[in-house]
Amino acid sequence: MQESNVKTTQINPHLEKKFRYPLNGEMVKSFSLPIVILILFLFNSIFTDNFLAATTMWNILLHVSTTALVAIGMTLVIATGGIDLSVGAVMAIGAVVSTFLLDYNIFVIILGTIIICALIGLFNGAIISYIGVQPIVVTLAIMIAGRGIAQVLTDGYLVSFSNPSYEWIGKGKIMEIPVPVILMFLVAITAFIIIRYMTFGRYIEAIGDNEQAAELAGINVKKIKMIVYIAAAVLAALAGMIETARMAAADATRIGELIELDAIAAVVVGGTLMTGGKPFIWGTVFGAILMGIISTTFNMNNIPYSYSLIIKAVIIVGAIYLQRANK
């Protein structure tokens, strides 16, 4: 049928203005997450012992930093209309690869790991962009194979080590703030600036919203998609290294297990649509923090981890429902 969208803008601009501000629209969306977190925060301060101790605060952020890093990468991927199920496996490969480089100085360790994982991201991006296989299938295959490779490389064993400069990445602090948390914020701020203020961000949004139109408008869609998958892999590598540094051990089987789900949950709760479009970096970060606070709340009140899973599920559904209601 022909365009029949009711054109309130044309016919009655005054009415349009009245409906622009909350209760529906941008405002509720942007503030609801922090509000929920604040509520949980208050709840915990009252009811949970030791909650307000400074260490607890940083602990929560520390706890979520790896998830948040992976989730930021996932945000970009999902914004282009894709998905990356391989991030957990990439974390594992990153962890394992880093242990091979322990003899070199810290920069080599970090750079080497990032490069190797970036290559995996490149591979993902290439198959998705140039061959046209769907993201979910490609990254699923890499997830299965990648985890296997990580295990083959370590024969299933836990690889422990001692390397102070490496371990500092996971255990160190700068002015009381844990290094991983600083990294998380640095990455988030960088990502936010790029997305919000740079052309790259507009391109990602355009691709997610209408890929064909973006292509015809001269945007190099293939290149941008590749970059996005590489970014996801690099951030996963970073997350893997942080975990490994924290434990001073690389566990090919356990590391990054199920993190893709947590990451996707954080992204979705944070406002970015699964179908693609505008990426919400801070939304993702807050989403990760929310999940973290829930886990901590349950932990500190001695409720089994399993219950938190149920609550997380409810929150995911609730968050998306609100998203849609606000659209």
Partner: protein
């Protein structure tokens, strides 16, 4: 699986070779693999081995059949693994109340949860990926809580029944294989010969058009996800039986991914509207035979299994994607036109 009065003429080899390969490619790969394996490994083509392959993959096969329906409808269901475990765990827990309770109640529950999936997806219009993801996480959580992360055993007095169900055989062929094959035939029949089945294809092909044509799309979606839930629950019970009457809380972990892989390899596209359960069967068998061959080879340790499976899945979908590209070029040349009068 196609009757004489077939509803479509679609895949004649010579009319469109590319399309034929794309549709039947996995099948050809399977045949080739079987031939290769029979030649290379003496004990491949033995009845023991073949039955073993079938038996080991019948459960994932059942799950994949249900997944086929969902994917045909352009949806996805990540919760099947958790629902499977739930089925097993509930059956074991309720076994002390009798076999009927142990069989019926779990399936009712998983069906109900499937309904919820379908309802949220259809009525609240939320993405299937997210909804079933949430269900997967939530149900798994519930299972851990409920079982306190311990395996649940079937009550002693009924244990044998479950073991027979999951592990028994009928004229030499394991029960689970019978169930798999029968379900396969049933599914194929439904998809090709009933309104319900055709509606599934229709919704996957063009949901809006289907709605306009008067089909109750929302109801269909709920039913398909419910069906999937039922099948998952049932499979969970079978699995518990297979494991000696013990239901593990971690059962079915990642099965949804294997099921998706099997469906995709079998040629059913994630964009819905095309494909079928025969393809899924081939996909399941292909993955199963690959693993079997790895085992027979014996030289690779078990860590390589997922690598090979992943690489295999990747190779197949890349080939499929390339074939699709060829096909669309091919189709452009051969459009049917109106005969001028």
């Amino acid at each position: 699986m196609k009757s004489a009065a077939s509803h479509q003429t679609n895949n004649k080899l010579f009319r469109n070779p590319v399309m034929f390969i794309q549709k039947q490619g996995a099948f050809i790969a399977l045949i080739l693999l079987i031939i290769f394996a029979s030649i290379k490994y003496d004990n491949f083509l033995t009845s023991v081995n073949i039955i073993n392959i079938l038996k080991q993959n019948s459960m994932i096969g059942l799950v994949a059949i249900g997944m086929t329906f969902v994917i045909l409808m352009k949806g996805i269901d990540l919760s099947v693994g958790s629902l499977l475990a739930l089925g097993g765990v509930m059956a074991a827990s309720l076994s002390s109340y009798g076999i009927l309770a142990a069989l019926l109640v779990p399936i009712l529950i998983t069906t109900f949860l499937g309904c919820i999936n379908g309802w949220i997806i259809a009525k609240l219009k939320m993405e299937p990926f997210i909804v079933t993801l949430a269900m997967m996480i939530g149900v798994r959580g519930f299972i851990y809580v409920f079982t306190e992360e311990k395996t649940v055993s079937v009550a002693v007095q009924h244990k044998q029944f479950f073991i027979d169900l999951g592990n028994g055989a009928f004229i030499g062929i394991p029960n689970s294989v019978w169930i798999f094959v029968i379900t396969l035939a049933l599914a194929s029949f439904i998809l090709h010969q009933t309104k319900f089945g055709r509606n599934v294809y229709a919704i996957g092909g063009n949901e809006d058009a289907t709605r306009l044509m008067g089909i109750r799309v929302d109801r269909m979606k709920i039913m398909v996800y419910a069906l999937n839930g039922a099948l998952a629950g049932f499979t969970g019970i079978l699995l518990a039986g297979r494991l000696g009457g013990a239901a593990q809380p971690v059962a079915g972990n990642a099965w949804e991914l294997d099921a998706i892989a099997a469906v995709v390899i079998g040629g059913t596209l994630l964009v819905g509207g095309r494909g079928g359960v025969f393809g899924t069967f081939v996909g399941v068998m292909l993955l199963g035979v690959v693993l079997n061959v790895i085992n027979l080879q014996g030289t690779l340790d078990s860590w390589w299994q997922p690598v090979i499976r992943g690489a295999f899945l990747l190779a197949i979908v890349i080939i499929q994607a390339q074939l699709m590209k060829q096909q669309s070029v091919f189709k452009k040349k051969k459009i049917e036109h109106m005969q001028p009068r």
